[in-house]
Symmetry: C2
Subunit: 193 residues, 2 copies
DNA sequence: CCTACCGATCGGTAGG
DNA sequence: CCTACCGATCGGTAGG
């Protein structure tokens, strides 16, 4: 449990600020104020640039998802259980550091090249591996014969609201949310019995 | 079929620009260029301000959803069919004017008061009415006993990826997308037979 | 629709 | 970490 470096404090405050205002509307002067510095120029002792902060946030979160899916691929073989584990991964990452994942979700497009292409390649790789699991489930008869691309994006998109929920309402328990998202995505809204 | 006014052309180009770069990163100079004006100042003959363009886009789309749910409430009574109609409404609105609904989804937070509160009230109203339908379905046994807030946001969020799909891949037919989103949300990923 | 222009604010650097 | 500062760009106005 080492103390946070000032750089870490700045990056975390940047994530919060980018999440509050959006990357473009966030100013380095406001960021300075939020970490107790009088001058924006002082920030440059801790980070290289505004975009460097964005890069760090985006790639750190990409790493979490890549690591997560790698673990799931190696340790679980049933596609149904793999999807459940992936849903759990998304909920876990989102609730563990909500502001950071919000920036990862919504602000990555402000990356400039070559980081933008690098980021999109990581995302593409993740999506392909996720889709491969869906494909396997369809082939083995575990899943319905749904277009895998449609299923992939519907599920990924459904998992994104978690960060919205966590920021605002939070009127329900995390365990209920987890259970019900999983139920809805795996078995649907309609009652069958 | 009257000709588009220059104002309409400007608003549509603004929607595209806001969707491409985000509201804050979009400049009036670039907007002018996109509609064939040499000077940003010329834009102000057609719109009052940058934010006025955003307001128009956001409230126009809010209206579409409000009108849609009103029609569904009056003409359909079965909650299962109502949810199917709502899913269809979201897909219809998104595919009919994809850039406009993207701005509506992602850029509303740049509205300033009092429009921001007004917009959020409209959204809240829509969500409450959507949730009421879910509640009714649960009470009548048509739907599973899922937390209605969780179901609401999971479904709404799942429907948002349609604008992402429409912009990028579009490797599958709209009818397949519609059918499979509906199947996934109503009956889930798992095969039951 | 253009010319001319303005005050405000931006991200960032030099130097200590 | 601050002082001092810079060039660029921003949304918008006045006037024709």
């Amino acid at each position: 449990m080492t103390a946070k470096t000032k750089k870490q404090i700045v990056i975390e405050a940047a994530a919060k600020l980018f999440s509050d205002k959006g990357y473009s509307a966030a100013s380095m002067r406001e960021l300075a104020g939020r970490v107790g510095l009088e001058q924006a120029s002082s920030l440059y002792n801790h980070i290289k640039s505004k975009e460097a902060a964005l890069q760090e946030i985006c790639f750190e979160n990409a790493q979490k998802f890549t690591d997560g899916i790698t673990t799931i691929e190696s340790n679980i073989s049933d596609p149904g259980e793999q999807i459940r584990a992936l849903i759990n991964l998304h909920i876990q990452v989102a609730t563990n550091d909500i502001t950071s994942v919000t920036v990862f979700n919504d602000e990555w497009r402000h990356l400039s090249e070559p980081q933008l292409s690098e980021f999109l390649a990581l995302r593409k790789d993740y999506e392909e591996r996720f889709k491969e699991i869906i494909n396997k489930g369809i082939k083995t008869g575990t899943f319905k014969n749904i277009n895998p691309t449609v299923a992939l994006h519907t599920i990924l998109s459904a998992l994104k609201w978690i960060h919205y929920w966590y920021k605002t309402g939070r009127d329900s328990d995390l365990e209920i949310v987890k259970k019900d998202i999983m139920l809805l995505l795996m078995s649907g809204l309609s009652s069958n019995d």
